[in-house]
């Protein structure tokens, strides 16, 4: 230990003593890391970050499962620390549209097991919050477990417990001067009180995190953003208040505001003002700050309408001339480009971890989960959606972060449709087919920056041909078109081409390539050159890390093709598991190759007319790939299918993409080829075939047996998750992936409704289904099955309900709709024998 009191070495240095850093130290110590150092440039217990001015209330219900799980765990931890006060909370609606959103909230609460919750009338709201003017609202959503916590006290208790156990040294008023990296690995933190050698460094300093990450050459994409709040008082009604909170908190959702009692005062906060973003490099120092670096001067002009709205809702208090505005700040908090935290080891620097963009409501849960991830390699709560490795290069740019954070800010209390698209930072990644697609009236959705056609307006005439109908309600048909179903039927009838350029493509090459891909792949990778293998990628506990296809292009070359959304995380996972002797390398070729998909019963005929290569079933069997010649193009063709029809993925270098499109298009025209969007590829085609998707059916909290994908024998070679996987095979699954059909779509108001995903599956009486591991059944994916004439829902069901013909219900907009189990397991609903995919027939003359 040096003169400064700082140890010279540590297992881990944590930078930032806000709620996140404090939440990390105890679980890390508990899991066995005994020499931790927590530093902060500010004083303790409040070093001046966002935790210090947080409103500290927790609403457990969120549409995101990951965030709800983290929040529930956090609430339990705050409770254990004795710093949680349950006050109840309301979300009030001023409009019918919002009431519908609150009904949807009821579904999410049931899906994630947050109970009790209820919808309440204005009169019932008034009973709970007597100072509200109930004439302004049309109803509300009440959650009695909404709580207020003392996050500073919680942080102190957790920190002190770790100190007492001897595992932690704390150093306040210690500023980081640099983070040293050698050979891609973090080695040292340099501070104003001396240097600390460390294997692991965790950046958990909120709004300052991007600045610290940059010191190490890494990126934590977030922006400091202003959240305005005022505190008014003293409120005569609260004069006798015995504690900080005795009345339910009110979220005035339609005005993007909240009001909460705070002792004798009322705090009014807002997410309604214009987005006010700051530069992480330009936050005032502690010395320069009038209050604290994250409590900036209030800009009243941005808060005028909010005062009017608060006055409307709570005239008794807000309209009282004796109640003054005592405190008003522009508080800084962290916003990310997709609204999720930034967690995990940075892809740029080994040993450098991010624990940023975490709010008080999920702080302790994140602390625990991240500690598990750091020490054990995998958290119990799946954090993959928040993985810092998820960002593509352009998503780390300041312009992108600011654009998306601005767009996100006013949606904090917004009604965000499950299919909602971003309006900002678009047209960043364009496939070579883009020009053709625009000509065909493509409606573009974004994935990982790529503009992907979701459907094509040029296909509108197909609606009549295939007698496809519209959906009745605006919500169910928002971000959707019946053209998707028509494109699907045209594909099943003839053929369709798809732009799949958003795939992430990376090659693993070298003498150690085989061993490297074996390690992360559940399936056998020692296949013949020219084989295409679809494989789950598992976590150590046997949950899903990903699922993807790997082509063996040579003895020492494997091409991995995976989804754009999580492709960067997959790239890190594969890179992390390369053989240690340096005989394998990994190259990201995403921007080298474009991909055109061609599927449908005519696919072989179409492709055959462009090439003299053998495309017969025998000459080009399913799950194989090889280079074919199409005119001047040498095309890597891979015969697989995610839509359940005969066809190929065709890969060419990006600059040859337009030519490829034209050749296939021209060859397809006599066969009635149509362009089809991701609406077919990702939803309708997939659901009919009961194909699972990563991030929907497949994630770290479900295993291969539960997903119904444990076919074939376990390979002899070792792979991540093997032990767990073998164990899972030996036991009966706790839940079974099923496909259900909606029996009756008509709601009580006589409208046909279509579920969109996330809704709870219940008994016909409305009782929730919970498996032996405590997981609720909910819809993982929902969508049309045009060829089977049903609306399809996928859901894990406890084994006792996982029987074909089982009659159950789905809770949609707080109403039960009858559903029936159509498939238990992975047998496709459409074409169960896979005749179409196999399509052994000869090429037509």
């Amino acid at each position: 230990m040096g003169d400064s009191g700082l140890p010279a070495t540590a297992r881990a240095v944590l930078i930032g003593a806000g709620i996140v850093g404090n939440s990390l130290v105890q679980p890390l110590a508990r899991l066995g890391w005994s020499d931790l150092v927590l530093i902060d440039k500010g004083p303790l217990p409040n070093p001046g970050g966002s935790t210090g001015h947080a409103s500290n209330f927790i609403y457990p219900v969120d549409h995101s499962r990951e965030m709800t799980e983290l929040t529930l765990d956090s609430m339990a931890q705050y409770e254990q620390l004795g710093v949680r006060t349950e006050c109840g909370g309301l979300e009030v609606a001023r409009t019918e549209e919002r009431m519908e959103e609150l009904r949807r909230r009821m579904s999410s609460a049931a899906s994630w097991g947050v109970e009790p919750v209820s919808l309440v009338t204005p009169a019932e709201v008034k009973e709970l919050v007597p100072y509200i003017d109930e004439s302004v609202i049309v109803g509300g959503f009440y959650c009695p477990t909404v709580s207020v916590v003392d996050s500073l006290r919680a942080g102190t208790l957790m920190r002190e417990a770790a100190q007492e156990s001897g595992a932690l040294t704390v150093s306040a008023n210690t500023e980081v001067l640099g983070i040293d990296v050698e050979h891609g690995r973090v080695t040292r933190v340099r501070t104003t009180r001396g240097d600390i050698e460390a294997e692991v460094v965790v950046i958990c300093c909120g709004v300052w995190s991007p600045r610290l990450a940059r010191m190490a050459g890494a990126s934590i994409p977030l922006t400091p953003a202003v959240h305005q709040m005022i505190d008014i008082g003293p409120v005569p009604r609260f004069a006798g208040a015995k504690s900080a909170i005795e009345h339910p908190i009110v979220r005035d959702m339609d005005t993007n505001m909240y009001e909460r009692q705070d002792g004798s005062g009322l705090e009014v906060g807002s997410y309604a003002h214009r987005p006010i973003l700051h530069d992480p490099e330009d936050i005032p120092s502690i010395e320069e700050s009038a209050l604290s670096p994250t409590e900036l001067p209030f800009t009243e002009d941005d808060f005028v309408q909010q005062m009017e709205h608060a006055l409307e809702l709570m005239p008794e208090i807000v309209g009282d001339e004796s109640v003054g505005i005592k405190y008003a700040i522009n508080g800084l908090l962290s916003l990310t480009p997709d609204g999720l935290p930034v967690l995990g080891e940075t892809p740029e620097v080994k040993g450098l971890w991010s624990a940023a963009a975490v709010w008080v409501k999920e702080g302790p849960g994140v602390g625990r989960a991240l500690a598990e991830w750091m020490v054990e390699g995998e958290p119990e709560i799946d954090l993959q959606a928040s993985d810092v490795a998820r960002f593509h290069e352009h998503q780390k740019s300041v312009a992108h972060v600011r654009a998306r954070a601005s767009e996100m800010f006013n949606k904090t209390y917004g009604i965000v449709h499950p299919g909602e698209q971003w309006a900002s930072s678009r047209d960043v990644r364009l496939s070579p087919f883009n020009e053709r697609e625009r000509e065909l009236g493509a409606v573009f959705y974004e994935a990982a920056g790529w503009e992907r056609p979701h459907w094509y307006e040029s296909n509108r005439p197909l609606l009549e041909e295939f007698e496809v109908t519209e959906r009745e309600t605006e919500w169910d048909s928002r971000w959707w078109s019946p053209i998707i179903n028509a494109e699907h039927l045209a594909m099943r009838d003839r053929a369709a081409i798809f732009d799949l350029t958003a795939f992430c493509v990376f090659d693993v090459v070298g003498p150690g390539a085989l061993e490297s891909v074996q390690r992360v792949s559940m399936r056998q990778m020692d296949a013949k050159v020219g084989k295409v293998v679809y494989t789950p990628v598992l976590t150590a506990r046997g949950g899903f890390r990903s699922d993807l296809t790997i082509m063996r292009l040579g003895d020492e070359r494997f091409r991995v093709v995976t989804g754009g959304a999580h492709g960067m995380a997959d790239l890190k996972w594969f890179a992390d598991h390369l053989v240690e002797d340096g005989t394998a390398q990994i190259f990201d070729l995403t921007s080298t190759w474009c991909t055109l998909g061609l599927w449908g019963p005519r696919a072989r005929d179409i492709l055959a007319s462009t090439t003299s290569d053998d495309l017969s079933h025998e000459g080009f069997p399913f799950a194989t790939c090889r280079t074919i010649e199409m005119g001047p193009l040498r095309v890597l063709a891979s015969r697989i299918s995610y839509v359940g029809d005969l066809g190929w993925e065709l890969y060419v270098p990006i600059e040859q993409g337009a030519r490829l499109w034209d050749m296939v298009w021209e060859a397809g025209e006599p066969h009635g080829i149509v362009p089809a969007g991701i609406g077919v590829y990702g939803t309708t085609g997939r659901l009919e075939k009961c194909y699972r998707a990563f991030g929907f059916e497949l994630d770290g909290e479900y295993d291969v047996v539960e997903a119904g994908m444990a076919w074939g024998k376990v390979k002899d070679q070792d792979f991540v998750g093997k032990e767990a996987h073998v164990r899972h095979r030996e036991a009966d699954p706790a839940t079974v992936m099923c496909t259900l059909t909606v029996d009756d779509h008509v709601s009580s108001s006589g409208q046909r409704r279509y579920m969109l995903g996330g809704e709870p599956i219940q008994t016909r009486d409305g009782a929730p289904l919970t498996d032996a591991k405590g997981r609720r059944s909910f819809v993982t994916s929902a969508g049309a099955g045009p060829s089977v004439g049903k609306h399809l829902l996928m859901s894990y069901l406890p084994p006792e309900y996982a029987n074909v013909g089982e009659e159950l219900a789905v809770l949609y907009m707080n109403e039960l709709f009858p559903v029936t189990v159509a498939v238990a397991g992975s047998t496709p609903l459409f074409d169960p024998d896979n005749q179409r995919v196999k399509a052994t027939g000869a090429v037509a003359a």
Binding site: I232, P284, E287, E288, A290, E300, V304, M307, G324, I325
Partner: protein, 254 residues
Amino acid sequence: MRILVCVKRVPLTGGKMVLTADEQALETRHLGFTISPHEECGVEEAVRLVEHHGGEITVLTLGPPEAEEQIRETLAIGADRGILLADGGEEWDPQATAAAIVTTIETEQAAGGEFDLIVFGNESADSGNYQVGIRVAHALSRPVVTGLKGLSVEDGRARCEQEVAGGRDVYVVPLPAVVTVLEGINLPRYPSVPAKLRARQKPVERISPERPSARLEKLRLVVPPGQGKQAEILGQGPDAAPAVVEVMRELGVA
């Protein structure tokens, strides 16, 4: 009563002062703005007088266009109207400031009658020249009492109290008069939300006076040593209690 209160927009500092690179001004990028604390009390005092005697309060400031924000603050406390003398982005010395205020007062008085009382802060929180109130009183040939810690009005006269060692000096002056007040004369109220909203509707007149040539030249600013927050850790937990008690004794609160 017809009362005029003069206020100045100043940076709301609380931590270390940082100067701009040319040392001509405070770096205010991260700072909010307010009115000088003495003037805040001046507004409050005027509001109390009007609450008691009836009347109207006009608030006047010389400053940048953004100083309207400070006028609105006073309107939320209870002033009725504001006048913003736009300074054209340049600093005005005390003579020029006083001259511009006098001109405005004369125009105002010609149109709406005499101000019974003109209230200043004892000195501004930023430049602290201690001059403007006295210069204005002199120019208008009115009595002036400075550094007030107490003020009341009765029978056309103002009773003005100054705090001096061991007691108070009391002056009684006939109205119209000029006073400059000190922080502590009262505890200013917080504005309510309805008052804030009303303040946005109240009239604020903008005038652009000619800036006379400066007679006071600023060379540069220097931050005196010892600025900034200074915290001394007295101890941890219960062991710190005796030291805390000692500090309280020194402050005279225990």
